[in-house]
C-alpha cells in the first residue's frame, strides 16, 4: 500500500509530468490563460490518463508479450481509438460534460503526456494498481501545474511587462520559476 502512495506522490509533485519531465507542454502553453479552462483541461486529462493506464496494463499483460516491437504502434493506435470512443460515449451519456470538455478531448490524443504515461508504465514494469496510482497522480500533477500557470498568467495579463516579453518568452520564464519551486519536492522521496 505504501508503495502505491509513493508512486502517486512521485508522479504528483516530485516528477511532475509538466514541470519536471516536460510532458504535455502543448496544453500547458496553449490553454493556460484562464483558470477555468485549465481546470477542465486537467479533468479531461485525468480521465484519459486513467483509461489509458487501464488499457496499457491489459496490453502489456496479454498482447505485447508476444510482439514487443509493436509497442509504440500499439500504444498510439489504442490511445487514438480510445479517445474517440470516450468522446462518443460522453457525447451520448452526458452532453453537458461533453460541452464542458469541448475541443480538449480530441486534442488529448497528441498530448505527449498520455503516450509518455504508457511508456513509463511499461518501462518501470508497473502492474494494474501501480499503473492506476501513477495515472491519477500524473493527471492531478498536470492539473496542478496547469492551474498554477493559469493563475499566474491571469495576473500578468494586467501587469506592465516589457514589450518583448509579451509572448511565450514570459510564459517560459514563469514555467522555469515554477519548475524551480517544484524541485524543492525532490527531497521528499529520498528522505524516507
Amino acid at each position: 500500500m505504501s508503495e502505491l502512495v509513493w508512486i502517486f506522490l512521485s508522479a504528483l509533485v516530485v516528477n511532475n509530468f509538466t514541470l519536471a519531465l516536460f510532458l504535455g507542454l502543448c496544453p500547458f502553453m496553449g490553454v493556460s490563460s484562464r483558470v477555468e479552462t485549465a481546470l477542465r483541461m486537467g479533468a479531461a486529462n485525468i480521465f484519459v490518463l486513467v483509461v489509458t493506464s487501464l488499457s496499457v496494463s491489459f496490453l502489456n499483460a496479454f498482447v505485447l508479450v508476444k510482439a514487443p516491437y509493436l509497442r509504440i504502434i500499439a500504444f498510439i493506435v489504442v490511445i487514438a481509438s480510445l479517445v474517440q470512443v470516450v468522446e462518443t460515449v460522453i457525447k451520448k451519456v452526458s452532453p453537458v460534460l461533453f460541452r464542458e470538455l469541448g475541443i480538449y478531448l480530441p486534442l488529448i490524443t497528441t498530448n505527449c503526456a498520455i503516450l509518455g504515461l504508457a511508456i513509463f508504465q511499461t518501462n518501470r514494469g508497473y502492474g494494474f494498481f501501480e499503473g492506476l496510482a501513477f495515472a491519477v497522480g500524473a493527471g492531478l500533477g498536470l492539473t496542478l501545474a496547469l492551474v498554477l500557470m493559469a493563475s499566474i498568467r491571469e495576473e500578468t495579463e494586467l501587469a506592465d511587462v516589457p514589450s518583448i516579453a509579451r509572448g511565450m518568452g514570459l510564459v517560459l520564464i514563469i514555467a522555469g520559476s515554477l519548475s524551480l519551486g517544484f524541485m524543492g519536492f525532490a527531497g521528499l522521496l529520498s528522505s524516507s
Binding site: F22, I73, I76, V77, A80, A165, G167, G169, I173
Partner: protein, 235 residues
C-alpha cells in the same frame, strides 16, 4: 496559392519558420533531452530521420490515403519510422538510447512532424516534400543543439564532453536540471523578440514598409497556402 521555389522550401524551416524557436512546436523533446550537446544531436537526428521518412512516404502515397482517416494514417506511418529509429538506436548506440529513454518513442506525438505532413507533404510532389522535411528537420536539430550547447556550457562547463573552463569553474547545475530548460528557451525567445523589434524599428526609421516575412508564430492549423498568401498580401 503562391508557388514557392525549391530553395524556399528547403531554407524556410531552417530559420524563418524554425519549428522550435518561431512556431513553438515539438517543445517536449526540445526541452527534455537538451541537457548536453550529445543528446540534443542524437534527438535532433532521430527526429530528422523520422520526419524525412514519413514526409517521403506520405507524399508518395497521398493519392491512396482517404481524406477522412488521413490523420490516423499519418500517425501510423510516423509510428513505424519511430519504431525503426528506436530499434536502430538501441542496437547501435545503446548508451545514448538509454540517456534519451522514453523520449525516442515520444517522437510519435511531436506535433511538428504531424504538422508538416498535414500542411505540406500531403499536397506537394515528392521532391518538394523531401526538401521541406530536410529543412525543417535541420532547423529542429539546430534549435536543439543551440539549447543543448547553452545548457551544457553553463551547466557542466564543457562542450561535447570537452571541458572548457578548467577546474576553477563552478558549474551552474540548475541549467542541466529541468528549470534550466525552461529558462534557457525563455531567454532565447526574449532575445529573438528583442532582435526582431529592433530590426522592425530600424526598417520603420528607414521609411521602408515593414516586410511581414517574420510572422509571429504561425498557427499549426493554418495551412501553408494561407500563410503564403497572407505573406504575399502584406508584402
Amino acid at each position: 496559392m503562391r508557388q514557392t521555389t525549391p530553395q524556399q522550401d528547403l531554407l524556410r524551416g531552417l530559420w524563418r519558420e524554425n519549428p522550435v524557436l518561431i512556431q513553438m512546436l515539438g517543445l517536449c523533446p526540445a526541452l527534455a533531452v537538451t541537457n548536453n550537446v550529445e543528446n540534443s544531436l542524437a534527438m535532433g537526428l532521430a527526429t530528422f530521420f523520422v520526419l524525412c521518412g514519413s514526409s517521403l512516404l506520405v507524399s508518395l502515397c497521398k493519392r491512396w490515403i482517404p481524406g477522412e482517416i488521413r490523420i490516423s494514417v499519418y500517425i501510423l506511418i510516423i509510428a513505424t519510422f519511430v519504431t525503426v529509429a528506436d530499434l536502430c538506436l538501441a542496437a547501435l548506440l545503446p548508451d545514448i538510447h538509454k540517456a534519451l529513454g522514453a523520449f525516442i518513442a515520444l517522437i510519435v506525438v511531436n506535433c511538428m512532424i504531424l504538422g508538416r505532413q498535414e500542411a505540406f507533404a500531403s499536397r506537394r510532389p515528392v521532391g518538394r516534400a523531401l526538401l521541406d522535411a530536410v529543412g525543417t528537420g535541420a532547423g529542429f536539430t539546430l534549435a536543439l543543439v543551440m539549447l543543448g550547447g547553452t545548457r551544457e556550457v553553463l551547466g557542466s562547463g564543457s562542450f561535447l564532453n570537452v571541458p572548457l573552463f578548467g577546474p576553477s569553474y563552478e558549474p551552474w547545475v540548475v541549467m542541466i536540471l529541468p528549470p534550466g530548460g525552461f529558462l534557457t528557451l525563455g531567454v532565447l525567445l526574449l532575445g529573438l523578440a528583442w532582435w526582431e523589434e529592433r530590426r522592425r524599428e530600424r526598417v520603420k526609421a528607414g521609411g521602408v514598409p515593414a516586410g511581414a516575412d517574420m510572422e509571429p508564430s504561425p498557427a499549426l492549423g493554418m495551412s501553408l497556402s494561407e500563410r503564403a498568401s497572407s505573406r504575399g498580401d502584406a508584402a
